[in-house]
């Protein structure tokens, strides 16, 4: 149930995050309308077009006043404007402005104006070129006529002067007309042309061509000048710039609208961001709180852990104490066993001491020395006739022989008692020996010392000697050459005594069979010293093999189960190990002790 709701809440959280992100993106894109980006470019394009338009008009005026004779500048602004317009138009249609009727109208109005202006400028160029040409030529044409007139001498001077004046007036009228185009001037020119036509008739034939040319050009000026002026006015009247202004205004309006929307979205974005910040702050607060909670729980856990650890440590310590106590007790038990053995052996020896003492006492009680006393009484009864008595008397005659026999008997008796005393003192020495050995092991701590294993084995055997003799155990020694090693004499002896004692017990139930115990010593791999004790006793049942070293395990009635356990511990304490092997019940057992071989160097 909890898991499900967690999953649902995770899903909800994800949905909320996606929703917020999409709102943010939506607002962002709306507040950064592309129209804003293109606005300035569009406006610049229109501005450039206006610039070109102004330049165009400037060039038109320059052509009008004949500053410039090159009409290329009248073409390039138009081309440039068309090119700019095309760019502008593409950009606008990309933004769908052509959908709006207002925009379409504005575009059409501009294009119409542009077309009209282009048409008028084309016409202006044509007509202006002609007009300029004729105007430029006029003075030359007039000069040609005047020169020819001055060459004429056969005609009436007055008439010639009138003709010259008329021609000159016509030139002036035409030039004035070019500057101030009015109906009056036009009439003047018409009048001048009529006069010139009349005058031509009065002049010789060679005047007809130049006058004809002059009048044709004047007529052209008369025709073209109003046309050009009209075109200029028309060009001025074409509202290209106004149309461009209209478009700029619309762009501005559009931009303002877009900006208004942008501002709105900016505001929304701001508000939304504010909300998000609040949300984030709340989340951060929550996070900090949950962190605190986690910290608190962590600390509690840590404390619990520490307590647990402490308790474990305590337990471990207790366990260790218990174990060391156990060890102590095992050791003490071992020592007790040794003491038992010692007492046992001592008891055995004491027995022989007792027998010896008994024997001596008996000997003393039945001593032949008493006969000596009787002989002395016989002698003392015959102080005066001792010789007689010894030679004559029947009893006396026997006395020397008796005394001789007695001497022999006493000497033998003395010999026997001395022998017996010798035996007893030997037994006492034995007891002293046993006690001394026991004393030398008791209380010794784990200290390694140089020792010969074979000697140690002999000590162990000696401590068990009584029992072994009693049980008629034959000890077979298979000692290989082993150097003096460093070892813990006490522990080793404990183990060996136990193993020998166990072997002895294992063979106690054998009835009519020789009992053999094999002791072995050898070096394994030049690294371990191996001591083995094999018996051919009752053996070990397979089910007991695993438990044999366990604390408290024993198969004997009077056993306490410490022996092998303490042996195994002692082996481990010496960095060695004790193993047992048996082919099965009744097939004997082999105990093997391995300890690291630490040879005693000559220095040590």
């Amino acid at each position: 149930m909890i898991k499900l709701s967690r999953r649902v809440s995770l899903l909800l959280l994800g949905l909320v995050a996606v929703l917020l992100a999409s709102i943010l993106i939506f607002l962002y894109f709306n507040s950064n309308s592309e129209k804003t980006a293109t606005y300035s470019e569009s406006r610049d394009l229109i501005r450039l077009m206006k610039q070109q338009d102004a330049q165009w008009e400037n060039e038109i005026l320059k052509s009008r006043v004949a500053i410039s004779h090159n009409y290329d500048p009248l073409v390039s602004p138009m081309n440039e404007m068309n090119r700019l317009w095309e760019r502008f138009d593409t950009m606008q249609s990309d933004h769908g402005r052509h959908d709006s009727r207002q925009w379409n109208d504005a575009h059409k109005a501009f294009q119409q104006a542009m077309q009209e202006k282009t048409r008028l400028v084309e016409q202006f160029k044509s007509h202006n070129a002609l007009l300029r040409n004729s105007l430029a030529f006029l003075p030359t044409a007039e000069d040609d006529i005047q020169a020819q007139l001055s060459d004429l001498s056969d005609l009436n001077k007055l008439q010639l002067q009138n003709i010259a004046t008329d021609t000159y007036d016509l030139l002036l009228s035409a030039l004035e007309f070019a500057q101030v185009t009015s109906a009056d001037k036009a009439a003047d020119i018409q009048l001048g042309l009529s006069k010139l036509a009349v005058n031509m008739q009065r002049l010789p034939g060679e005047f007809h061509a130049p006058i004809g040319i002059l009048s044709k050009h004047v007529a052209l000026i008369l025709r073209e000048q109003p046309l050009v002026n009209g075109m200029l006015e028309d060009i001025e009247a074409v509202p290209v710039a106004d149309r461009l202004d209209d478009i700029t205004n619309m762009l501005n309006q559009d931009q303002q609208r877009v900006e208004k929307i942008d501002n709105k979205y900016h505001f929304y974005l701001l508000v939304f961001s504010g909300l998000l910040v609040l949300l984030l702050m709340w989340l951060a607060f929550r996070l900090i709180r949950s962190f605190a909670e986690i910290n608190r729980v962590n600390n509690a856990l840590q404390t619990a852990n520490d307590v647990l650890e402490q308790r474990v440590e305590e337990r471990t310590r207790e366990l260790r104490n218990a174990q060391s106590e156990l060890l102590d007790s095992a050791r003490q038990a071992g020592m007790a066993e040794i003491a038992t053995n010692v007492l046992h052996n001592v008891g055995n020896v004491l027995n022989s001491v007792n027998i010896s003492a008994d024997l001596i006492a008996r000997k003393l009680r039945n001593s032949k020395t008493l006969g000596l006393g009787k002989a002395m009484q016989l002698i003392n009864g015959h102080p005066d006739d001792l010789g007689h008595f010894l030679t004559e008397d029947d009893k006396g005659k026997l006395l020397p022989g008796y005394l001789n026999q007695l001497v022999g008997a006493i000497a033998q008796e003395q010999q026997e008692m001395a022998d017996e005393l010798g035996l007893m003192s030997k037994s006492v020495d034995h007891i002293k020996d046993i006690v001394a050995t026991q004393q030398s092991y008791a209380g010794a701590n784990s200290m390694t010392e140089p020792l010969y294993i074979s000697e140690l084995l002999e000590d162990a055997l000696r401590m068990n000697a009584g029992a072994l003799t009693r049980h008629h155990v034959t000890v077979i020694r298979e000692y290989s050459e082993v150097p003096q090693v460093m070892g813990d004499k006490h522990r080793l002896l404990l183990i060996l005594i136990n193993l020998i004692s166990n072997a002895k017990y294992a063979m106690s139930d054998l009835d009519n069979r020789s009992r053999e115990m094999t002791l072995g010593v050898r070096v394994v791999d030049n690294a371990f010293l191996e001591i083995s004790v094999r018996d051919d006793g009752e053996g070990i049942a397979p089910e007991n093999m695993t438990r044999i070293f366990a604390h408290g395990f024993t198969t004997r009635k009077e056993g306490h189960g410490f022996g092998l356990h303490s042996c195994a511990l002692a082996a481990i304490e010496m960095n060695g190990h004790l193993t047992a092997h048996s082919d099965g019940p009744g097939l004997g057992a082999l105990f093997t002790l391995q300890i690291p071989l630490i040879a005693v160097t000559e220095n040590a």
């Binding site: 008009e57 004949a66 290329d72 073409v75 081309n79 016409q123 070129a129 500057q179 710039a241």
Partner: protein, 334 residues
């Protein structure tokens, strides 16, 4: 803007001292000649501009298309059939022959320097070279083809396909073929004419006669129409200002109505685009109807019908000499 315009307009009405305006260019020219020997001259005529920078792949495609007869309906005519680049960029006939072997109704203008003309065709009916090729290719008298056929034919050619897909984002289309042709045509400029070198400051390259010829060219007013970088090609003008050339020639045709055919404006009757005078030495016969077989004849007609002047034979010869300095180079000599 309006007020500014009005002020300018007012300035126009004010009398100007005519002689000063009139002599100003000459004075300027004199001053320039005196001061800066190698500096470009400030003349109403301008040297050719630099070649525009274009996509080389597009230009190459245009070059191939230009001489490809598959653009005509019956595979007989290419652009180069009438615009013979090895001669003058035009045809030596007065009227070139269409795909059907029938002569067309108007003289073929040269393609050389055509990109500098402010409009294309004699009557200026289109503004761009792209539109020009469209008209010629689809004209029932000229190449008589249609774009579906052409796009199909070009697409079938693996070389073209590879070329177009390399040069354009969207392979073979009508617009791309037009663009390629126009790109190529924009490279057909003829720089290095002796007069251009003169304009660029090498004033010794023209002989005295040729310089006089240029002076006459300006004095007689030829320059009123033939000016700018292309020495013409930037305005329309009535053919027959002084007198009716068409009528005098006889057999008026619809083509002779000129721009009137486009605008319907009576003022545009017999109005044509002023042609460029570059390479004019080579582009005979002259005029829209090819009615002037020689340069001298063309100059005569211009004087009589356009300028209304009677020049001396000497001046005419000088002007013709000057006109021959306008021959430029395209891959050696056109």
């Amino acid at each position: 803007m309006n007020s500014q315009k009005r002020r300018s307009g007012g300035k126009l009405g004010r009398p100007l001292p005519m002689p000063l305006v009139y002599y100003a260019p000459a004075f300027l020219l004199y001053a320039l000649c005196a001061v800066a020997g190698a500096a470009p001259l400030d003349e109403p005529l301008k040297p050719l501009p630099e070649l525009p920078k274009q996509h080389p792949g597009q230009v190459e495609l245009g070059r191939k298309l230009f001489s490809d007869p598959r653009l005509s309906i019956n595979n007989t005519l290419s652009c180069a059939s009438c615009h013979q680049l090895q001669k003058n960029g035009a045809d030596t006939r007065a009227f070139s022959l269409g795909f059907d072997g029938q002569p067309v109704s108007i003289n073929t203008p040269t393609v050389l320097n055509a990109s500098l003309n402010f409009r294309q065709f004699w009557d200026g009916r289109v503004e761009t070279l792209e539109a020009q090729s469209n008209v010629v290719i689809t004209s029932p008298h000229e190449m008589g083809s249609d774009w579906n056929t052409i796009v199909q034919r070009i697409t079938e050619d693996a070389d073209y396909r590879a070329g177009f897909s390399a040069a354009y984002p969207n392979a073979v289309t009508k617009a791309n073929i037009q663009s390629a042709l126009a790109s190529y045509e924009r490279t057909l400029l003829t720089p290095g004419s002796r007069f251009d070198q003169y304009l660029l400051g090498d004033t010794d390259i023209l002989s005295l006669e040729e310089k006089y010829g240029y002076q006459r060219f300006k004095d007689y007013g030829c320059i009123a129409c033939h000016q700018g970088a292309n020495i013409g090609g930037n305005m329309f003008q009535k053919f027959g200002v002084f007198g009716d050339y068409i009528a005098d020639r006889g057999n008026p045709t619809v083509t002779d109505q000129g721009r009137f055919n486009i605008t319907g404006d009576e003022a545009d009757r017999s109005v044509f685009k002023v042609p460029s005078l570059r390479n004019v030495e080579l582009t005979a016969p002259y005029f829209h109807d090819g009615s002037a077989p020689t340069l001298e004849r063309a100059v005569d007609v211009m004087f009589q019908y356009q300028l209304g002047r009677m020049p001396s034979a000497e001046d005419k010869a000088l002007i013709v000499q000057f006109l021959k300095t306008l021959t430029g180079e395209w891959k050696g000599k056109p």
